[in-house]
């Protein structure tokens, strides 16, 4: 297999809300380049928390190893995530991570074209016209480019979000329940498109979903959760990798 992108060992994140505490523990997780990693589990098990950790927007409470390896000036560099400053995290994120949000997370004031191009703009990566056309053509968005997101269907929005997450050729694509708001056939389509495009780019995909049947067949790695209630107000979720 390829070189690892994420390496996690004994990473712990404790969140407290309203007096209840929730602890996510990742004993061991390695995600390699080009892998399709699915994160499955019922709601409230810590899927999103794990994704946020991987997206560098959430700092772990504790970790013995938590690193991300991305290309910098043609060489690979491994970063110790807990030590990253907020701005460094943002810089790594803009160049190396594509994020597909649950409801698309499109900017309502931009057209579809602008929404897709914004991540390229932010990352500073030039996008050839042909490249763009191929991507939107593959996702079937050719006719929607000048529309505002509010005029799109849920599936189209989700596809725009996929395009936005891919346009700047990130090494990592994080997808947070990208199929939650669409019907099953569309979900399958989107899943396949995501998988196919990421594979073409050689990017690692981490896809969070509550629907195991959607990803079972295609996952290289699957993260599941074992949830135990230690006390009435204390929950521990430990990941297991399959």
């Amino acid at each position: 297999m390829n070189e690892p992108v994420y390496r996690l060992r004994d990473v712990e994140k404790i969140r407290t809300k309203g007096g209840a505490s929730f602890t996510l523990r990742v004993p061991e997780l390695v995600i390699h380049r080009g892998e399709f990693c699915s994160v499955v589990g019922p709601s409230g098990c810590g899927k999103s928390t794990l994704l946020d950790l991987l997206a560098l927007v959430l700092d772990p409470s504790r970790s013995s190893c938590f690193s991300i390896t991305v290309a910098q000036n043609q060489t690979m560099k491994e970063w110790d995530i807990p030590r990253l400053s907020e701005n460094d995290a943002a810089r790594i994120r803009r160049r190396n991570i594509g994020y597909v949000l649950q409801n698309g997370g499109l900017l309502p004031f931009l057209t579809v074209r602008e929404n897709i191009m914004i991540s390229a703009d932010i990352s500073g990566r030039p996008v050839a016209r042909k490249e763009f056309d191929t991507l939107v053509g593959f996702l079937g968005l050719d006719d929607q480019l000048n529309k505002k997101p509010q005029y799109l269907s849920g599936g189209q929005r989700q596809r725009v979000a996929v395009a936005r997450a891919l346009i700047h050729h990130p090494a990592i694509i994080l997808a947070d329940e990208p199929t939650a708001a669409v019907d099953y056939p569309t979900a399958l389509d989107i899943r396949d498109e995501l998988k196919h495009l990421a594979h073409a780019l050689g990017a690692a995909v981490v896809m969070v979903t509550h629907d195991r049947s959607l990803v079972d067949a295609i996952s290289d790695v699957q993260v599941q959760f074992e949830v135990t209630r230690k006390a009435s107000r204390e929950t521990l979720a430990t990941t297991t990798v399959k």
């Binding site: 999103s48 994704l51 946020d52 997206a55 927007v57 959430l58 907020e86 701005n87 943002a90 810089r91 994120r93 803009r94 160049r95 991570i97 994020y99 949000l101 649950q102 997370g105 499109l106 900017l107 309502p108 004031f109 931009l110 602008e114 914004i118 991540s119 703009d121 932010i122 990352s123 505002k148 936005r164 947070d176």
Partner: protein
């Protein structure tokens, strides 16, 4: 890029953006108008009411004699006196005015005025020139005259048991509105009132062709040159200062004599110079010395401290000279070659002659002699004769030189009609004074009363007006403060709310990898764009409203005055203030909105 995104967002949400712009504009516009009124002419109108010359007037309650110097020094010591004009005795200011048609005649009181008179100027009337007057509205009404009409003024006196009247005509150059004065008054230049007073006192006023006594200038001297065939004893020297008006006697050597007198006496004469201190000596003092030295074959001649004069022949630049006196008596003493008739110029219609050095650049014949002492000036036509031997010394007969010398002590003027030097008046019975502001009145009143001059001021009125002004000021600033505070909170709240609404978008941008400062810039740009638009709108509203206000009240304004106005500086200050506030509130709101983890913020919603 951030600016472009911010602008796109505003345009996308154009309805809400418009609401925000309208809201901010509606906060700013009334404030602009309020301040526009404050800084516009309403302030001027208000201060015109507060600082009405009527409130700043100070008049003496009693009649005293104030000489010119008193007026000059008073104004020098107290710069807060903005205007002062002397007044004659009350009794001599009454005059009968008759209109051109001759069908209305009215007793008017004359009031002296001069350049800078605030009572006239601040009521929009120019100060009258020569042979012109400004009438108060009641006076103009009862005389049925308007600006440009000619009035006949007449004044009466009793001379040798008979009534006489002196008349002169005066142009009405302005009419003072009734609010400035309700009395029937004519404002004229001081010399007109002086002429009327002189006439009533029986003196001649050549300027108006009125006959009477002439107040001829009398010669005064600072000393007497005494020439004796043999030296005087100490006792005799002392006698010269005993009851003669002179205080000091000094024997002069030949050289000193030349320096002091301007000529060298024959060596057989002993020369003494008796001089005065402070007060000048008159002819009587010279006579007193003569009588003291009777039988001693002494020659006594008047002496003046060399007087700086300037003589100008036609077509030649003026020449500065020192004037000394010579008199007929000294002929045996000093060999001075004087032209024929040098001492006879005193007769009427005979110009006074002065002797100037032969080598000076003046032509013989008619010339103008002028001299200035302190602020008193005098110019007299003279006949120049050349023949002096000492450079820059001029000589005049003692009587003429003495008259000129009087300028050192009193005001002397040359009267063309009689070709003679006349005394100007010595003092004035009263005055009319204005301080620069109403706040100075009390101080000046105390000063004058300290000098023993009781004066009338509008003290009570000043107190009331000042209180009212304070209340008005307080109310304005209260309204302004409430407005400004309200404006600040509304602006902050509007921008804060608009950022709060954008929370989701801001966090999406963050997740896409924008740095925190770039995220903050987004609402900051939006705030600036929105408040900039609001400023433009408020500015336009202000311009329109101020034009309406100025148009409505144009009748009450002078040209170049506007009731409601703001300067470019005010606008710049306002713009800066609003922008700083926008940046501040947008930054604050943006930091608040991005405090949470971006993903969490997105899911919360």
């Amino acid at each position: 890029m951030i600016l472009r995104l911010a602008l796109k967002d505003i345009l996308h949400d154009w309805l809400l953006s418009t609401c925000l712009v309208l809201a901010i504009a509606s906060i700013i516009a009334p404030l602009l108008i309020l301040f526009g009124l404050k800084f516009g002419t309403i302030q001027t109108l208000q201060s015109r009411l507060v600082q009405d010359p009527k409130n700043r007037e100070i008049r003496p309650l009693t009649t005293k004699s104030f000489n010119r110097e008193w007026f000059d020094t008073l104004q020098k010591i107290h710069p807060e006196i903005s205007f002062i004009v002397p007044m004659t005795r009350q009794i001599s200011t009454s005059i009968t005015a008759t209109n051109p048609a001759g069908d209305a005649s009215e007793q008017l009181s004359l009031m002296a005025t001069a350049a800078g008179d605030p009572l006239l100027l601040e009521n929009g009337v120019t100060v009258p020139g020569h042979a012109a007057c400004v009438l108060t509205e009641p006076a103009a009404q009862s005389l049925k005259v308007s600006i440009g009409d000619e009035l006949l003024f007449s004044t009466r006196r009793i001379s040798k048991g008979k009534y006489e009247s002196g008349e002169f005509s005066v142009l009405v150059s302005g009419i003072l509105e009734a609010r400035a004065s309700s009395l029937k008054t004519a404002f004229v230049r001081l010399d007109v009132i002086e002429a009327v007073e002189d006439y009533k006192d029986g003196r001649a006023v050549p300027a108006y062709g009125w006959e009477g006594e002439m107040p001829a200038a009398y010669p005064v001297f600072e000393g007497a040159a005494v020439f004796t065939p043999s030296p005087l004893s100490k006792l005799e020297e002392v006698m010269l200062t005993n009851n003669t008006g002179f205080t000091q006697v000094k024997m002069l050597s030949g050289e000193q004599a030349v320096a002091m007198l301007g000529y060298a006496p024959h060596s057989q004469w002993t020369v003494y110079l008796a001089t005065v201190k402070q007060r000048a000596a008159m002819d009587e003092s010279i006579q007193a010395i003569r009588s003291k030295l009777r039988g001693k074959e002494a020659i006594v001649a008047p002496w003046i401290e060399p007087l700086a004069i300037s003589v100008k022949s036609p077509l030649a630049p003026p020449v500065a000279l020192k004037l000394l006196t010579v008199s007929e008596e000294i002929t045996p003493v000093a060999p001075l070659s004087l032209p024929q008739g040098f001492f006879e110029g005193n007769e009427k219609e005979e110009r006074q002659t002065i002797l100037v050095p032969s080598d000076c650049a003046l032509g013989e014949g008619d010339a103008i002699l002028s001299l200035t002492v302190e602020d008193r000036e005098l110019s007299v036509p003279v006949i120049v004769v050349k023949g002096g031997t000492i450079a820059s010394l001029a000589y005049a007969p003692a009587s003429f030189a003495g008259q000129l010398n009087l300028l050192r002590y009193r005001n002397v003027k040359y009267d063309e009609k009689t070709d003679s030097l006349l005394l100007s008046r010595r003092g004035y019975a009263g005055f009319r004074m204005y301080t620069a502001t109403i706040d100075d009145v009390e101080n000046i009143q105390q000063k004058l009363e300290g000098e023993g001059i009781s004066v009338y001021t509008e003290k009570e009125r000043i107190g009331e007006v000042r209180r009212l002004d304070n209340y008005m000021g307080l109310i304005f600033w209260l309204i302004a403060a409430v407005g400004v505070i309200g404006g600040i909170s509304a602006l902050t709240a509007s921008l804060y709310a608009s950022v709060e609404r954008k929370k989701k978008e801001l966090n999406v941008l963050r997740l896409l990898g924008l740095l925190k400062r770039e995220i903050v810039l987004f609402p900051v740009f939006q705030g600036l764009l929105l408040s900039g638009g609001a400023l433009l709108l408020a500015g336009s509203i202000f311009v329109v409203v101020s034009m309406v206000i100025n148009h409505l009240f144009s009748a009450h304004l002078r040209t170049a005055e506007s009731l409601c106005t703001l300067s470019i500086g005010h606008f710049m200050f306002l713009t800066a203030g609003v922008f700083v506030l926008s940046v501040f509130s947008a930054t604050f709101a943006a930091l608040q909105a991005t405090r949470l983890d971006p993903a969490e913020a997105l899911r919360d919603e």
